[in-house]
């Protein structure tokens, strides 16, 4: 009974958000519409009652500890995972049309010896699905060049992509994701391995992409601080539950305490927020059971 109640109270935060979102685009169906989505893995609910509506040019942050379900939600939006309950629609359709979504995944492992230049990688974002020997014309390369300049990757377009730095690779991957002019750009932990200077650069770049190209952005991160100035909405995921709304509505003691079901203190220090969860830091909430190796799997994935 208490569980239901707290979810309902979480729901009130959602509806506040939905009202706000509807006001920006009355009568128009939203770019992305997520309703009552639940995703289960076996018996465990990874995501529960997720409601989110994204309009053109929105900048949404998915915030949560490792294992809170950020990647799962991304993959559900991409259509790789089918929710066990609820509905995800992109411009009213269940499956996004090709080229509608650009995606930058979490882990990038490009080997140093990969015989591919940065611009070849971006070109794949435009015609990677094509079968056959078709040639790439001048207008094709112009579009690639335009996307690369747009993300500040013009200078290293001819360098082998595996030898670029992490920040440079991040830019190239973003260029590959936006080269086909998608409506929605998903980025999974794009800031995870960047130093502070690069982090700010990438965020500024994403902000300019959504302003200039009108592409909506959903970005996941475990630390909200670098994103405080740019996010329109925050989706805060924890322990299978969520709180959704404007940044200052969600990152508050009472909202987060409801989410975690124990007292959470949110401190504002020098324009940064700190989320204090009592004795144990929430960043480790979902991790513990993952690091214990499962005996059964041991036999299987042994190298």
């Amino acid at each position: 009974m208490t569980r239901r109640q707290s979810l309902n109270r979480g729901g009130r935060v959602d509806s506040a958000n939905e009202a706000g979102s509807a006001a920006t685009a009355p009568g128009v169906r939203p770019l992305l519409d997520i309703r009552d989505v639940e995703v289960r893995m076996g018996r465990r609910a990874i995501l529960n009652d997720i409601n989110l509506s994204v309009g053109d040019g929105d900048f949404i942050g998915l915030i949560g500890a490792n294992g809170a379900g950020k990647t799962t939600l991304m993959r559900a939006i991409l259509g790789d995972i089918t929710p066990s309950r609820g509905d995800i629609r992109i411009l009213g359709q269940h499956r996004a049309r090709m080229g509608m979504i650009g995606y930058v995944p979490q882990k990038i492992e490009l080997e140093a010896d990969l015989p591919i230049r940065a611009k070849d990688l971006v070109a794949l974002g435009l015609d990677g699905q094509r079968v056959g020997f078709g040639m790439r014309g001048a207008s094709f390369w112009k579009q690639v060049d335009h996307a690369m300049r747009g993300v500040g990757a013009g200078d290293f377009a001819d360098r082998p992509v595996g030898r670029l730095s992490g920040g440079q690779q991040q830019r190239v991957l973003i260029a590959a994701a936006i080269v086909a002019n998608p409506r929605l750009l998903l980025l999974d932990e794009p800031l995870a391995n960047l130093d502070p200077a690069n982090t700010d650069d990438i965020i500024a770049l994403l902000d300019s992409i959504r302003r200039e190209r009108g592409i909506s952005i959903i970005l996941s991160a475990h630390d909200i601080n670098p994103l405080l100035g740019v996010l329109d909405h925050v989706v805060y995921l924890a322990e299978g539950r969520s709180a959704i709304g404007a940044t200052d509505e969600v990152i508050r003691s009472d909202t987060l305490s409801r989410l975690y079901r124990h007292h959470i203190e949110v401190l504002h220090v020098d324009g940064r927020v700190m989320v204090m969860t009592g004795q144990n830091s929430h960043a480790h909430a979902g991790d513990e059971r993952r690091t214990v190796p499962g005996r059964g799997e041991g036999a299987d994935d042994a190298g």
């Binding site: 190796p293 041991g298 036999a299 994935d301 042994a302 190298g303």
Partner: protein
């Protein structure tokens, strides 16, 4: 019982059963740790390098066991030195080293065959083994090495398990990870050599990984896993030896190779164990659902 007594009277069968049994137990024991530590690939690669040693020994006319042993233990220490975590199936450099090893094996075997005249099938036994062709003088060495393997691993059981489950914690508690890992690789090298002398260098992976994977599939506890692994290993070797020996009379002269029988039985056992595991898992799922 009478059948086994009758079999025991035949000398080459007796040797096959003694060698097969001790090797089955020791490799299964080492195998459980190998699989658990995620080093199956290292174990598999060692066989390629053990065969270089075995074929070189064959060429020089030395007892093959010493060749296997030197090749495999040296390779194991080399792997430890490079770092076992870095060796993965997709790593190109590792693959090329193994390929070169196989290349030299082929060279040594060819040279030995060219020189020895009728040495052809003896050379093939380096790769595919034959428990029935083992030199009686090798038996004591095999037994001693098996005992050394089992004792060494039993003595470092706790440390080996600790460094497997949580290397950081083990290090914090004062376990000397580097030494434990190096010792384990030595033991693994010996086990691979023992497997190679029994079922052949190419096939010894089956004895090392197969029974161990069976044990880990059906049991949740380390001790039970080891017990199951050793039993499966023993059963496969015994059944394989008997089937191979008896097949001589079934097929009028074309006896089935003992290594093939053992490997086939190991595969069957493994598939059975996976089946059992799936049934256990589905029972657990439905049981909880009812509660």
């Amino acid at each position: 019982m009478n059948v086994i007594e009758a079999l025991w009277q035949v000398e080459e069968l007796r040797i096959a059963l003694i060698v097969g049994s001790t090797v089955a137990v020791s490799t299964a024991f080492v195998g459980v740790f190998t699989v658990l530590r995620g080093q199956s690939f290292a174990g598999h690669s060692l066989t390629d390098l053990a065969s270089v040693g075995g074929s070189a020994a064959f060429l020089l006319g030395v007892n093959q066991l010493w060749g296997f042993l030197v090749g495999s233990v040296l390779a194991a220490l080399g792997m430890h030195w490079i770092g076992v975590e870095r060796l993965r199936g997709r790593d190109v450099a590792t693959g090329i080293v193994l390929g070169t090893g196989m290349g030299f094996t082929s060279l040594f075997l060819t040279l030995a065959t060219m020189r020895g005249g009728s040495g052809g099938s003896a050379a093939v036994s380096i790769l595919f083994g034959s428990l029935f062709a083992i030199d009686p003088r090798t038996v004591p060495i095999v037994v001693v090495l098996s005992v050394v393997c089992v004792l060494a691993l039993a003595m470092m059981w706790k440390q080996a398990l600790f460094t497997t489950v949580s290397p950081q914690l083990a290090s914090a508690k004062g376990v000397r990870i580097n030494i434990v890992n190096a010792l384990f690789m030595c033991v693994l090298g010996i086990a691979v050599a023992l497997g190679s002398i029994s079922v052949g260098a190419v096939l010894s992976t089956a004895l090392l990984i197969g029974p161990a994977a069976c044990g880990l599939a059906v049991s949740k506890r380390m001790r039970d896993s080891v017990a199951v692994a050793c039993s499966v290993g023993l059963a496969c070797v015994w059944a394989g030896v008997v089937v191979s020996y008896e097949s001589y009379s079934w097929t009028r002269g074309h006896s089935w190779s003992v290594s093939f029988c053992i490997v086939a039985l190991v595969l069957v056992c493994y598939l059975l164990c996976r089946g059992i595991r799936m049934i256990m898992d589905s029972r657990m799922e439905s049981g909880v659902a009812h509660v």
